[in-house]
């Protein structure tokens, strides 16, 4: 089977259950959003897939082969980590030189072009860069490796709004030219909602949602109106949360969009970030 299969993976750190019997598939040539709150288990899942951590139980396969200690499979994957694992004294240009050594399809010309776009001085050493530029070094490497599976763990950490916007544009551009499976792990949901095709929400080590962005958002809607009108409207519906601001009340409802709107009630699309917040808060409660 093509793609990545995660089967019944459990990982604990002492008494903390980071992943609890997680099973999930990442198909070919899709952009996934792996969303979760801090400590939800996103990084642990990516580290297990990328052979950096060992699961306590369960298995991970890529294109039908085990990911554990498998050079052939690992050469198809690249994980842009939140942390920097390049030697501190290494120059940026050497980071790319060595990445090409390990990933022969690494596009050095494209990396140099991206470095110019991000105003990155490739003669600088990794330890002399700011948090944002450290992320840029890793982003460029991830965008140029040309592997079938690319994982981004908190890719925009420390990046200003302009560079975040540039990154998302480059990501889509890269995907349109050379489709591959990209998995973006982040808690900045608002920013990736327009980029990801498929959403996986992880909370407290469990997958709580795993569906296409379109389907997930079509499964819900938002209504706004006076408190009395909203309360009347939501009776018998699956309300996942409410916000009250002055006399106005907003309710987030799971279910099909109503064909007819009631007077005094405004119906709008479910916002991914709102849905995420409500779903993960719900889990907490």
């Amino acid at each position: 089977m093509s793609g990545i299969e995660v089967r019944n993976v459990t990982k604990t750190y002492g008494r903390t259950v980071a992943l609890n019997d997680v099973s999930i598939d990442f198909g070919e040539n899709k952009i996934y959003g792996l969303l979760g709150r801090n400590g939800a288990g996103k990084t642990t899942l990516l580290n297990i897939i990328n052979n950096r951590l060992f699961a306590d139980s369960g298995r991970v396969f890529a294109d039908g082969e085990s990911c554990i200690e498998n050079d052939k499979v690992q050469s198809k994957m690249y994980l842009m980590s939140e942390k920097t694992y390049y030697p501190e004294k290494m120059k940026v240009k050497d980071v790319y030189k060595w990445t090409k050594n390990f990933y022969p399809d690494f596009d050095m010309d494209y990396a140099n072009q991206l470095a110019v776009k991000f105003s990155l001085d490739t003669d600088k050493r990794v330890d002399s860069l700011s948090t944002g530029y450290n992320s840029i070094v890793k982003l460029i490497a991830a965008l140029c490796v040309n592997t079938p599976y690319v994982f981004f763990d908190e890719p925009v950490l420390g990046l200003d709004a302009n560079y975040r916007d540039l990154f998302y544009r480059l990501l889509i551009e890269k995907y349109s030219i050379n489709p591959c499976t990209m998995i973006l792990s982040t808690h900045l949901i608002g920013e990736v909602s327009g980029v990801v095709e498929h959403v996986v929400i992880i909370n407290k080590g469990r997958i709580i949602r795993n569906e296409s962005t379109e389907k997930l958002l079509s499964n819900g809607y938002t209504i706004t109106g006076t408190a009395a009108k909203v309360d009347e409207f939501v009776m018998g519906k699956n309300v996942i949360g409410c916000d009250v601001l002055g006399g106005l009340k907003t309710a987030y409802i799971l279910g099909e969009h109503p064909v007819m709107a009631c007077e005094g009630i405004e119906i709008s699309k479910m916002d991914l970030q709102k849905l995420f917040v409500k779903l993960t808060n719900d889990q907490e409660a």
Binding site: T43, Y85, Y86, P87, F102
Partner: protein
Amino acid sequence: MNLRASYKYQLADNKKSMIIYMSIIVAITLFLYLATIFTFSVNGVTTQFTSMEFASVIFLFVTGLCSFKDNFLMLTQNGISRKTMFVSSILNFVTLSGILTAFGAILLLLVKLLAKENILSTGMYETVYSVRAASISGFLMNVESIILNFCVFLMVIGIGYLITLIFYRLNKAGKIAVGVGVPVFFTMIFPLFDFFVTGNRISLAIGRFLNCASGFSSQNPYAGIISSICVFAIVSGLSWLLMRRAVVKA
């Protein structure tokens, strides 16, 4: 492909320090050589170059100590499995030991060739196995010396690698316990225990064992060669056991 890439990276990582080390050794040797020549005419100073390879032993031990963490993180970042990493590390150790063995042999040969009456030079082999060295041909002595140096170098770099792996795998409390406990044990607890309880029997037994293992008293360099290979095999095996479950720490 991955093995080659991993080996190439690790070798390049050691290239700079290796060149600096060899340059320093050449510079010191040259300085002492020239200083001896110039000062001999004034006050008859004699210089003896003894066991120059010992500097390489220390260099390789430190190299072993520095060979794990950065490489592990960099290679893991680039999709290299622990098995490939380990094999490439061993190949790298063999290469470094080989280069420094050749370097030491050439340097010693040059010093001997250029030696005057006031410059004496003996390698590690001639120092340890002096009786045997005097009784065999120069060619055989050089061959045995090269093999012995290579095996000893391999052993010390392997020991350094094992130590750094032990520290990487330990948690903070374990690092403190081992970092403090081992030196305290060997410098205080063991000598006191050995002296007061066993009447130095343990240290004498260890001494006899090391004497036998190195072939010092029997003047048998092959004992030293085999012992070094055995120690390297054991520390490599232990290193692999520690490495196969090593994880990238958060």
